[in-house]
């Protein structure tokens, strides 16, 4: 069997002053609350093992505080792990030097943020072209390319507006266009639609599905909403208190929830579908 596109092995993240000092207790299985109370270290992730194949949308789901944002920030090393290994397309991400890491971030993956993370002092077109400007692409060709992605997210005509002048949904489309503009293989999306109204959210979901049909990127998508996970995900992983408790195809999760935590998610969906019909 070939190596998976993205592989995470034995990943731990402990927040606090001296993470190493509590690793024994973390590995020993002591609960997150106890460790926090006794040592004032917070467990972000505990022994995460994951394989993600190329292409498709890999959804990571969990309640607020379960470690989703922490996990996704490990792929591009916005957060460094306390322990573990991450290999992406044959590259050991943790072994990269600062320079190589910057290069890797510029070309290999891009990211979409929950609160959009747009630069308020740059216009829409400058925001979309941001990744290319960091790569050193000259102004003419980066604006040309940015304009293409502006059209792709149906925001033509807004190039010279500032983010503050746009609605939330429009801002997130700028965020999406900015992420697509660098042609990176991997797209990291941290609850990209959670801050949006339900109607706008489903529009955006539709747009993402249409774009993905054409682009066939590898998308890591975070949500706390199982409906969204089922709609978008080719596989779903479920996090609870920093631990990965179940991973599989959407139907596996629906049919065989591994415990009450997962069952609670599933039940909500069933009820929602029931009342809708």
């Amino acid at each position: 069997m070939p190596d998976p596109f993205i592989q995470v092995e034995g990943l731990y993240k402990v927040f606090g002053a001296r993470p190493q000092s509590v690793m024994d207790q973390v590995r020993g299985g002591k609960s997150k609350d106890n460790i926090l109370a006794e040592t004032s270290h917070a467990i972000g992730l505990r022994n995460i093992n994951l394989s993600i194949d190329k292409g498709g949308i890999f959804v990571i789901m969990g309640l607020s505080g379960s470690g989703k944002s922490t996990l996704i920030r490990h792929f591009n090393r916005l957060i460094d792990p306390t322990e573990g290994r991450i290999v992406i397309d044959g590259v050991d991400v943790l072994a990269l030097t600062q320079k190589d890491l910057e290069k890797f971030r510029r070309h290999k993956m891009s990211m979409v943020f929950q609160q959009f993370g747009l630069m308020p002092h740059k216009t829409v077109i400058e925001n979309i072209a941001y990744g290319l400007s960091i790569q050193g692409v000259n102004k003419k060709s980066r604006v040309e390319k940015a304009r293409h992605w502006l059209e792709a997210v149906e925001l033509g005509g807004y190039e010279d507006q500032y983010p503050i002048q746009l609605s939330g949904g429009q801002q997130q489309r700028v965020g999406l266009a900015r992420a697509l503009c660098t042609d990176a293989d991997i797209l990291l999306m941290d609850e990209p639609f959670s801050a949006l109204d339900p109607l706008i959210r489903s529009e955006m979901q539709g747009q993402l599905i249409r774009l993905q049909e054409k682009l066939q990127k590898t998308i890591i998508f975070i949500t706390h909403d199982l409906d969204e996970a089922l709609l978008l995900g080719s596989r779903i992983a479920i996090l609870k208190d920093g631990e990965l408790i179940q991973e599989g195809e959407p139907k596996d999760i629906m049919l065989n929830p591994i415990d009450d935590y997962v069952a609670a998610f599933v039940k909500n969906v069933k009820r929602a579908n029931f009342s809708a019909s």
């Binding site: 916005l78 002092h121 990744g131 900015r178």
Partner: protein
């Protein structure tokens, strides 16, 4: 019972010991200024030359040329005719009441002190924002600098460099620089976390992050710091006149010793007028430069 006198009287250090400590420290500092005073003074030579040049420029240009130049500057900073008219009126009154030369001297020294504070303060603030350790050291230092009576700064500066413009500028800068440092640090730390993360995620290095994202977004806060620094520099100018800084401070000082109330008041008002001009212009500039960071109210 003589042994328990410390219960009723504070067990104070022997007078001779105290004297010895003071003597040693003062002597050491005097020794330091004797051996390093000259090199340090020549280090500040370019600053002195610039100060003299700038003051001469303001003093020797015809008054109307200065007013025109300042009005043009104010217009470009604020784009407001009202502010320009205010500035013209204030300067005319100052000139009419015979305070033109001193106002020009003060204007020149404040300009130099402000520029110097910015050049020193912003890099320190940036360093502070990037490291919690640096912040832990610099913050209490600034606290001390800001609570220390301003007169105390004058002593070592005068011992080192004597009386004159340069020691005056140094004392003013020491007194006035803390707000720029503090607010640069604060402004950078308050930049929305996801925006900085976004820059990092797209591969920006720390220099690009600073230049492209953190500094522009911190700029309104930094401008507020610069504004406070200017106000503090203006306040310090009166005190610095005690060590030979010419300008509006000297007549104020003279009025205190001779009880000339009106003279003090007029020169005080001229300082206030300068303060208002600096304040309005820098704030208008800050607002105009960062208007797209906030929602436009009328839209």
């Amino acid at each position: 019972m003589a042994d328990s006198s410390w219960l009723t009287k504070f067990p104070v250090m022997e007078r001779t010991d105290l004297l010895a400590i003071r003597k040693t420290l003062d002597e050491a500092y005097r020794e330091f200024s004797r051996s390093y005073g000259d090199p340090i003074e020549s280090f500040f030579d370019p600053l002195l030359r610039f100060l003299v040049w700038f003051e001469k420029l303001l003093l020797n240009s015809p008054w109307w040329a200065v007013i025109i130049a300042l009005t043009v500057l104010v217009y470009f900073a604020s784009r407001s005719w009202k502010q320009c008219l205010g500035v013209i009126a204030a300067l005319m009154l100052i000139g009419y009441f015979g305070m033109w030369d001193n106002t020009m001297r003060t204007l020149s020294i404040i300009t130099v002190c402000t520029l110097l504070s910015i050049f020193i303060g912003i890099p320190i603030g940036i360093t502070m924002a990037r490291s919690d350790k640096v912040q832990a050291v610099v913050t209490p230092t600034l606290d001390i600098m800001q609570t220390m009576p301003a007169f105390v700064y004058l002593i070592p500066v005068v011992m080192l460099l004597g009386i004159g413009k340069v020691p005056g500028v140094i004392a003013v800068v020491i007194y006035a620089v803390p707000p720029v440092i503090r607010l640069t640090n604060l402004g950078i730390r308050l930049v929305e976390k996801e925006v900085v993360e976004a820059a990092t995620a797209f591969g920006a290095n720390s220099w690009q992050r600073l230049w492209d994202v953190q500094l522009p977004l911190a700029m309104p806060t930094i401008m507020a710091g610069i504004n406070q620094t200017i106000m503090m520099a203006l306040a310090m100018v009166v005190i610095a006149s005690m060590i030979g800084v010419k300008g509006l401070g000297q007549p104020v000082l003279k009025s205190i010793t001779n009880q000339y109330f009106t003279l003090g008041l007029f020169n005080g008002l001229a300082i206030v007028a300068l303060a208002i001009i600096f304040d309005r212009v820098s704030q208008a500039y800050a607002r105009r430069a960062h208007r797209h960071l906030e929602r436009i109210e009328s839209a």
